[in-house]
């Protein structure tokens, strides 16, 4: 993606934000960390725009997840209104997906969410994460088996 104005980049980013943010929440289950990481991805993209052929949603997701999973000893500053975080927590508690995703490692969650929520193909995930296509497939198979096993016991 050629260097562009802040306004153009922000417009693209805002279009992708809902999916990317929800996907990162599904990996880290923390609203503040998810928001902080997606905001970081926006600022990184502003300085170093992704290549034109990149899947923008996938690129933002990859950068944000990488930031979110970085070993950190301090939480990001609280930005969220408490009413919002309460609503998010209630929703997360209610959905079945959370319980199943929590059975997986963060990396497995990233791949499962990228495929089943963001709709990325194995090739796209492999390209984004710098891994082989077969690794993506194997990870998804393994993760689904684990989730199905748990689901059948529930």
């Amino acid at each position: 993606m050629a260097r562009q104005s802040r306004g153009d980049w922000e417009q693209l980013y805002r279009r992708a934000f809902p999916d990317v943010y929800r996907a990162v929440v599904a990996v880290v289950f923390d609203a503040d960390i998810a928001l902080d990481s997606v905001q970081d991805a926006f600022e990184i993209g502003l300085r170093n725009p992704p290549k034109v052929e990149a899947n923008l949603t996938g690129w933002l997701f990859r950068v944000a997840v990488r930031r979110a999973l970085r070993v950190r000893l301090r939480r990001p500053p609280r930005q969220m209104p408490s009413a919002y975080t309460s609503e998010l927590d209630r929703t997360l508690d209610r959905i079945e997906t959370r319980r199943l995703l929590e059975l997986l490692t963060p990396r497995q969650r990233s791949i499962v969410v990228a495929h089943y929520f963001l709709g990325l193909h194995h090739e796209e995930i492999a390209s984004l994460l710098g891994i082989r296509r077969g690794t993506v497939g194997a990870t998804i198979s393994h993760a689904l088996a684990r989730m199905r096993e748990e689901n059948s016991h529930a």
């Binding site: 929800r22 999973l69 070993v71 950190r72 490692t105 963001l118 199905r148």
Partner: protein, 308 residues
Amino acid sequence: MPNQHPIHIAGDLASLPLPPEDLWVRAHRPANRLGLVAFVGIAVIALASALMAAQAAADPQGATASALRRLLSPPMLSRPGGCGPSQSQTNSATCILIPGTLVEIVGHDGYREASTPLVRVRIDSAQLSAEFGNPMLLEADARTQINPASPNIAATGVKVGAPVQVSFDPRAPKTSSGAYLLTQFVVVSDGRLPDCFVELDIDDPPPGPLPGTGAMNAEEAFRRTFPNVTDFKMFPGASAANSFAPVWIIAASGETYVAYILGSTTAPNNWYAFRAKFVRCHTPQEIRDRQIVPGSPADSPRPDGTRG
């Protein structure tokens, strides 16, 4: 269109509420602020260089800084990261790292906290010691560059008797404590991790390690994960003498890695190696304030021997 899955991932996640739109982009702009800081820094450096040049012109006999430069033999001079090319060219005294030994962190609690920003350092050079004090009293402030990166000197975990390097401006007025103001404080290291609460940026590529599929020990894990890296040094974690402590690894290329146990320390094949970079030391207060990121590697034993 999301791929279909019986566990309804797409539907469930689409129901998650979004934060208010005004929060989607940060209100403050760290990137721009950094730019501003860099700009101000460059301006200050340029101004300082101009002032020093003017002072040198007015003092042809050679000021204290010049004497300091003469006293230092070439091998003692080094160019720390904090001194830009323009500063090096001016041979600013504040860019010269002087070797010495840490004698005291004033007000140190014996751990990683101190009630003052003062340190006493015995300078190796007898001539400099005679001129500036033996040991010499130095004070850090918010602008002091500390290596390894830390909020203050005590947080680096540096011990009394450790070799250090310091730089200061001998022309600047002393602080209210009668100390010279430190511009840089460097803990001399052979490459191992500092003995502090380290923050590492660990590259844990997907799909993530599976329990029991690792190696029997750190070296085996490293050789297996990075077979092309054959020239490396291993530094077992300083915090524990047992074999479970994480191991810091430095390749001859300068790349750094960490090997540590994931999961049970008693189960076999649980050693894994990852690329890793040292980020900074944290203060004990920061550690007390920390909260754990769910599912993050912080849940695993960290290279400082603590557990998230």
